[in-house]
């Protein structure tokens, strides 16, 4: 692919003063207000979550903006404990009467159920490793900044005789949790995303990037990449379904392996619904596969604490193909005789916990090297509508989308009609031949994670569609 001239985003800066999130002290005040009100209601313990979001998203299609939205909201979620029972009530009304009503609703829910023998006392004060992911340039991005970037991308599409569709979003969010045992944690971050589909009838291709710092996004480069691939994809030929060597770009890897994250929850294993049942400590994947959950990784985002305010730990999940560790909430840790890893969901819930920040170890190859080393295979831009067919063998089905290319004798030789796949992730991760270094990948089926491009043998395509 040709490299486009860089056109990274430089916010106009006109609205630096318009940062909409409340200062942390206001969140702390809100939490203290709820804790004070709860004392007089008979709650033995109280936990308060405050979440605030200020997001904007510019959406374009047919080479013009057709939707353009902005939202601001703050919610307060209150969990009370009474006589060994707990429940949660949530509101976005901040006056004291509403907060009191929400506390009472939480208590009423709590009283309606049998005692929970597994319920633990709320945790006390914790120490948190700080992470900084709030970039004021992202927070300050104005609708005009987004519109101008979209205009440039659409102009490119017009020039190439193509049709552009996509989004450019930016925003900021913060979360704070506090409880009646003096725990308090707060975190804020910014986020930005540019995604573009370029259509050249009957083909299309796609590129997307995501970052806390909008200045690292290069919408025009993404538009160039999608445009070039769409053009290459126009004359797609139909191949027979079967097993192929595939080269999955990072977005395709992410959207597949993202379905593994839930299996590493201790509660899922205890419930016998994880693919890791009876498989922990065994050589399940290839020796080149190592996976950690690491919220502190420089390419990751998210709060460094969980739904109870427990600090997140870095956890080695898979070591050279062997699933080694699970993640634990406080309750599942106690049941298993382990220490909590800071991955619990807000209580009460039935799912326990999950890793949210997967990082694959990756390799030293590249897409170019993978193509060059392939006698016959398929280069996959992205996957779509992935769903679980078999939860234990982790067979996933889905489609290729927006650019599937045939590789022959070390070169891309043409485009191919899209396939449906039915592929076990366990088998897939045994068949990885090459990996690039891991990058922050973004798709549509999973949280953003840090994954490499992968060359995989014997990937199973079961049917072909009409385009």
């Amino acid at each position: 692919m040709k490299m486009a001239a860089s056109a990274k985003i430089r916010p106009s800066g006109r609205s630096f003063q318009n940062t909409e999130l409340r200062p942390e002290r206001e969140l702390r005040n809100l939490i203290e207000t709820v804790l004070r009100l709860a004392k007089s209601t008979g709650a033995e313990e109280t936990e308060v979550h405050v979440d605030e979001v200020a997001d904007a998203l510019t959406r374009f299609a047919n080479n013009g903006i057709h939707q353009n939205v902005s939202e601001h909201g703050l919610t307060i979620s209150i969990r009370t404990v009474a006589e060994g029972r707990t429940a949660r009530a949530t509101t976005n009304r901040l006056d004291e009467d509403s907060l009191r009503s929400t506390i009472e609703a939480s208590l009423s829910l709590a009283h309606s159920q049998p005692k929970d023998a597994r319920l633990l006392p709320m945790p006390g004060k914790q120490r948190y490793r700080q992470v900084s992911r709030f970039i004021r340039h992202t927070a300050a991005l104005a609708p005009e900044d987004r519109a101008r970037a979209v205009r440039r991308a659409c102009d490119l599409a017009v020039k190439k005789g193509q049709v552009a569709a996509g989004i450019f979003s930016s925003g900021q969010s913060q979360t704070a949790v506090g409880n009646s045992r003096d725990l308090f944690a707060a975190y804020r971050e910014t986020h930005s995303q540019f995604s573009i589909t370029m259509q050249e009838d009957p083909a299309a291709s796609w590129a997307k990037a995501n970052s806390a710092d909008v200045r690292t996004l290069d919408p025009q480069k993404l538009a160039e990449r999608a445009s070039e691939k769409a053009h290459q994809a126009v004359h797609a030929k139909e191949l027979a379904p079967g097993r192929y060597t595939v080269i999955l770009e990072p977005a395709a890897v992410l959207d597949l392996v993202g379905f593994l994250f839930y299996d590493f929850a201790a509660t899922a294993v205890e419930d016998k619904r994880s693919c890791l049942n009876e498989r922990l400590g065994k050589q399940l994947f290839g020796q080149n596969i190592s996976i950690t959950d690491d919220v502190f990784h420089p390419l990751q985002q998210g709060a460094p604490f969980d739904g109870e305010g427990i600090p997140r730990q870095k956890v080695l999940l898979v070591d050279r193909g062997v699933p080694k560790n699970l993640v634990y909430s406080r309750a599942s840790a106690k049941a298993a005789g382990k220490k909590p890893t800071g991955h619990g969901f807000p209580l009460p819930n039935e799912y326990g916990e999950t890793p949210m920040n997967l990082v694959f170890s990756g390799g030293d190859s590249s897409l170019e090297k993978m193509v060059a080393s392939t006698e016959r295979g398929l280069l996959v831009t992205r996957l779509w509508y992935i769903r679980e067919v078999d939860p234990y063998e982790k067979v996933m089905t889905g489609m290729t989308r927006d650019g599937l290319f045939l590789v022959e004798n070390g070169s891309v030789t043409g485009a191919v009609r899209n396939f449906r796949f039915n592929q076990s992730l366990i088998e897939m991760l045994k068949n990885v031949e090459l990996m690039s270094p891991a990058v922050r990948a973004t798709g549509e089926e999973s949280f953003e994670m840090v994954v490499p491009a992968m060359k995989i043998r014997d990937f199973h395509f079961s049917e072909v569609t009409k385009f």
Partner: protein
């Protein structure tokens, strides 16, 4: 609330909006779940706020706020106009809206028992009892139950004069049993998977579903599936139970007829559609016994797609989608109606909440009942597979090629259900599949199924849609592909 709405519209007009509409909404929700005899989620939530949509300089802007004061909504309206003006920097053409009358109205969905007035203890006791019934069955390793209730008040006001208040009450529940044995996970659910059945009804829906009565069979089937035969891989006759057919309709008819998809507005995310404009009134979508409507009216039933007005202030309507097998209609809004020669929107703009822009959505997209009695349909089938309750679903981004798997299958030989099959699946091309339909059961077997989790739009919105379906038969369908090892 009307004063705040008017205040927002006035501000938008002063700031330069040629048109504006606002949706103030108050949403209340209760969620209850159990797992293995213990209470799982027990939560209530409320959310109130306002979304303001404006047209300025020929382009759209939308902003939302939870600050429901005069200053808060005025500031939000001003922001919406400012965003619209930014949109105009990269607009393709001016937005033109199909004309619509103004309405002053108030409507409430019918229900007999307000679920928020039923004691929590009663609701939890039912779930825990169903959970206990399932746990009695040997081989069951995980039991789950759930109930969800929603009450939504919305106030719609437009600069053309409409003032519409609607109150909807939605209920839903389901149970499921999972069995892990010998390296295999099997699950059965009732009355449907992924949360059960949901409808625009009160607590009477929960009572009518008789969870306790069905719990033992759900658990027994989950355990029995381990020893069932594998669904064969072949081309053959398929009978779909109503709950699976509802999802088939959703994915292979409901989404392709959304005009925003057809026009490329969802190309980057949800995808486009094979139903290009030249197909309207020409494409033989299905066999001649297939009739599909998009019907938001109460006359059609109390589905998740039932309302009096959509979120653009357009009254609920019934639109022919497939008539005697021919493709006859799209789901449209005020902006797109004229592109298919309609003088008026078909009334399908819906929003998840006050902080989301209304977009084209399915209402109740239903297959109209046929003539067959279910027992006669089985008796008439020499060699086939009956598939029940969805387990996985996937379709390409133009809605041609799909694959579904279900929780359970039954082999039919010489007009009788002869044995249970595990891991059933089927796949095909949308129009080929619908053209192979040769029998649809009658109204006695027809249910307006609720799909509560339809995702679309950016930012993502989740919406409930309705799908009326009765068991139906399809010929020469590709079966068993999901588990093929080829």
């Amino acid at each position: 609330m009307w004063d705040l709405c008017t205040n927002a519209l006035d501000t938008a007009k002063v700031r330069g909006a040629a048109y504006g509409d606002v949706r103030a909404m108050y949403l209340r929700q209760r969620d209850l779940t159990t797992k293995n005899g213990q209470v799982g989620t027990l939560a209530e939530s409320e959310s109130i706020g306002m979304g303001i949509r404006v047209l300025a300089n020929g382009a759209w802007g939308f902003a939302s706020t939870d600050r429901l004061t005069r200053e808060g909504v005025a500031s939000c309206a001003a922001k919406a106009v400012s965003i619209a003006k930014a949109s105009a920097l990269a607009k393709r053409s001016n937005v033109v809206l199909a004309p619509e009358k103004e309405y002053i109205d108030s409507w409430q969905s019918p229900f007999r028992k307000d679920p928020f007035e039923i004691p929590l203890e009663t609701q939890l006791a039912l779930l825990l009892a169903a959970d206990a019934e399932m746990r009695k069955v040997k081989g069951v390793t995980l039991t789950e139950t759930s109930m969800q209730f929603r009450k939504i008040d919305s106030w719609f006001a437009s600069s053309s004069g409409s003032r519409i208040h609607q109150r909807k009450v939605i209920s839903g529940c389901g149970i499921g049993a999972t069995s892990f044995q010998s390296g295999e996970i099997q699950k059965r659910s009732y009355p449907n998977s992924f949360g059960g059945q949901h409808a625009l009804e009160g607590y009477e829906l929960i009572e009518s579903l008789e969870l306790l009565k069905h719990a033992p069979l759900v658990a027994e089937e989950a355990a029995a599936l381990h020893s069932a035969a594998q669904c064969p891989e072949k081309f053959g006759t398929l009978i779909l139970a109503g709950n699976q057919l509802g999802l088939q309709i959703h994915e292979s008819i409901g989404h392709p007829i959304e005009l925003d998809r057809v026009l490329g507005q969802e190309a980057n995310f949800a995808g486009t559609s094979f139903l290009t404009l030249d197909q309207l009134n020409h494409l033989k979508y299905a066999s001649s016994i297939v009739n599909v409507v998009a019907d938001a009216r109460l006359d059609h039933g109390q589905g998740l797609g039932t309302f009096a007005y959509d979120d653009e202030g357009v009254p609920a309507q019934c639109t022919d989608i497939i008539k005697d097998g021919k493709f006859r209609g799209y789901l449209s809004n005020r902006e797109t109606a004229h592109l298919v020669g309609l003088e008026r929107s078909s009334g399908t703009m819906r929003t998840e909440s006050w902080n989301r822009l209304p977009i084209i959505r399915m209402t109740n997209v239903s297959l109209l009942p046929g003539t067959w009695d279910f027992d006669d349909l089985i008796a008439d089938t020499q060699d086939g597979i009956l598939m029940d309750t969805n387990r996985s679903w996937s379709i390409d981004d133009r809605r041609y090629q799909f694959q579904f798997s279900t929780e359970i299958g039954w082999e039919i030989k010489s007009g009788k259900k002869v044995r249970m099959l595990k891991n059933p699946s089927y796949s095909g091309i949308t129009t080929e599949f619908w053209n192979s339909c040769d029998a649809i059961c009658k109204f006695d077997h027809w249910t307006l199924w609720g799909t509560p989790n339809c995702g679309k739009g950016q930012p993502m919105q989740t919406m409930g849609t309705g799908h009326g379906a009765a068991p139906s038969r399809f010929r020469n369908v590709r079966l068993g592909t999901a588990f093929s090892k080829q």
